[in-house]
Symmetry: C2
Subunit: 476 residues, 2 copies
Amino acid sequence: VRVVDVVASALPAGRVVTSESERRAHAHDYWALEAIHDLGGTPAEPPPAVVYPEATSEVATVLEIAQQHRAPVVPYGLGSGVCGGVRPGREALVVDLSRMNRVVEVRPESLVAVVQAGLNGGECERRLGEHGLTLGHFPQSIDRSTVGGWVATRASGQLSTRYGNIEDLVLSLEVVLPGGRVVRTFPAPRASTGPDLRALFLGSEGTLGIVTGVRLRVHPVPTHERRGAWAFASVADGLDACRRILRRGGTPAVLRLYDGVESDRNYHVGTDKVVVLALDEGDRPVVDGCFAVVEDVMSGAERLDDSLVDHWLAKRKDVAALEALIKVGAVVDTMEVSGAWSDLPAAYDAVVAAMSAVPGVLAASAHCSHSYLTGGCLYFTFGGRPEVAEGAEPTVAEREALHRAVWEAGQRAALAHGMSVSHHHGVGLHRGQYLPDALGGGFAVLAALKAALDPTGILNPGKLGLPSPFGPVELP
Amino acid sequence: VRVVDVVASALPAGRVVTSESERRAHAHDYWALEAIHDLGGTPAEPPPAVVYPEATSEVATVLEIAQQHRAPVVPYGLGSGVCGGVRPGREALVVDLSRMNRVVEVRPESLVAVVQAGLNGGECERRLGEHGLTLGHFPQSIDRSTVGGWVATRASGQLSTRYGNIEDLVLSLEVVLPGGRVVRTFPAPRASTGPDLRALFLGSEGTLGIVTGVRLRVHPVPTHERRGAWAFASVADGLDACRRILRRGGTPAVLRLYDGVESDRNYHVGTDKVVVLALDEGDRPVVDGCFAVVEDVMSGAERLDDSLVDHWLAKRKDVAALEALIKVGAVVDTMEVSGAWSDLPAAYDAVVAAMSAVPGVLAASAHCSHSYLTGGCLYFTFGGRPEVAEGAEPTVAEREALHRAVWEAGQRAALAHGMSVSHHHGVGLHRGQYLPDALGGGFAVLAALKAALDPTGILNPGKLGLPSPFGPVELP
């Protein structure tokens, strides 16, 4: 008896879909290597079926059956991950949460909202907006990702310096464990009642449980805003300004630095200027206080026109340029890492140099997308084309080899300069190889967690660098 | 062969101490029930020995031997917990971290400091102060607690609205697991590399590993300060003001509300006034912006003299009055819980009423000590005396019974109104009974974590509501 049939017979009609198109649509996420394979005619094998639960109890049923049958299961939001985190391979059932998309409760007085995990991010914002509220979480993928996906990947939004990252915005979780047990963590604003169980599932990428419900901390829609743009002579100078803003307690919602290449590409200011944008929003005195710090720190820099911020706002969800390049066979991707302020300038130089040194790379650049009191996130972009005989078209294997070589060079250079493996894109399949070394002895703890919560290993096998007891989920 | 002797022979001379006085000094923490028993002549049984490791490798040696011999071990900081969290019972070796008290590294540019876990909190502040830095973590116990103890108990400081609680201040941890494996979590300012492993040990109360090193986020010493004090007509009105300050983005380092009883007891303003104190510190524009929100929200309240804040600052570490009451046989204790803003007023009323209804209770009151965007911490204090025949002195059993009855009444009332089991005092022994229900299915997850990381159950057995495979650690 096939597990798909058992699941189908245990759930109401219409929950299990096995059409070719649905299966293909769930065969991978936005991982750049998948695009290379799709374009080259060697696409990912589709999963056997897609399950669309409509209630937590249905997710529990799926995980009870899956555990009994030792069948692999991959939870799926809207598939906008970029590291292969939802790649099911040919065996795993995909559990698509997108029908669990209700706003369950809004408590405006306490600034709390409870939503189902499959709610689309943009829709979540629109629904909160009806109450005069915002989550304040604006990833570039907001319209093609879910709240549950944000939790599973430890996502960051573009306004995180004011509102926090997803781990700061989650008050409690409803999670279904392998076997079907439902856990609802306690929704206190803060507690000391043992280890924080939310943290187990934030960033677990579907390997420890399936997130079905999320209680969120929300904010009033802002009533005041300030913007500014400045230019520095070097990445190091600009990073130092960001550092000093945070150090003085300035937390502008947006604080973005672009190296010369990206400053010119995005803002046409020439490649000798390092653009820094700042935007804050919220209540007037708080925003003005923050911006007084920003402007004081920036006083030595060249002031640019505020329209640069307008331009960024207009384009911030736009990935069309990247997608166009991919469609014509270019090898392009992004790689974000994080580290301490004092390590960032050297890490920037080293990663750009390491990527650029790979034959075939035509461009490598970075911006700083998130700032913290102790450090920030460097977000690299690279592009290139395999060096092949004139007139010849690069093969899939050549494109994949170039992608992997650039990534390896960049990630190793980043790690050698004290950077983390990932800031907010997660690990998925692509970065799993780096995790055992990078977790500082913690990988054994992660493996112990996996064994404790998912003893049969059915949940999203092979991700986070963990071994898969099933067939391979790697690329062909 | 006794495990104490094996440990003693494996470590350098002087590490294992078995003197009566040292053993007695480590027999319990500041749990109110211990004071009742000490006073009544039925003190806790002392542990067999106290081990003072001086390096992480020595802690690893202890936990390797302890696991081999299946011998219980209790990590110990400075013993200022108030829930029985370090009670060893007669079998467990106490591992006192206080000799591991070095400041390992300070990186002023990146605002990072690395310290050993046994460092005294007040000493940590003094050492950071030499660099113009502060951690910003000021629990009442700062001079009688350690950095590692803060981590293990998920502590909060009195200035947390500006600086954050301990989980916000910890960048990474060095932890020794049962068996002796050392884990050093990755020190990124923020990452998405699987579940946040710090969270396993923050609040673990010594049940999952022994914290030996802590990498901290620190702040520049503040250059500007604002203070204010106001009076409201009711607890509900005052709480609503606190709520509105946070909602507008105001994060004054200190925001404290006292009910009528505590307002009069501390500030002699009569019992019909609910005092709210605010203090902020940091960089001038940020502090002024925050205080503009505070003063705007408070504009409808009666302004009191700033000297009330001075008085609070002068007395904030003072527990002499409470200790004096305990010494003369009064039954007194505190109980802190947290919940959503909209639940707090009713929870306040219910808990005070429930405590007051217990025969023998003479006073029950509360303040709100910590505020968040979505809610706050209600910190109750109760005092009483068992009702005994005139002229008779209450027995230990009668005092303990009164304490347990008041606590049970208060904690149950709090839970019934949506409050957490604990805000920052942790669980220890006293609150373990409430955890299975309160964790919303998460208790099984906690038990699975325990089994995964401490399979022989040697670490701080019987705490957090987890079963002890060894002898009882309860009170006589």
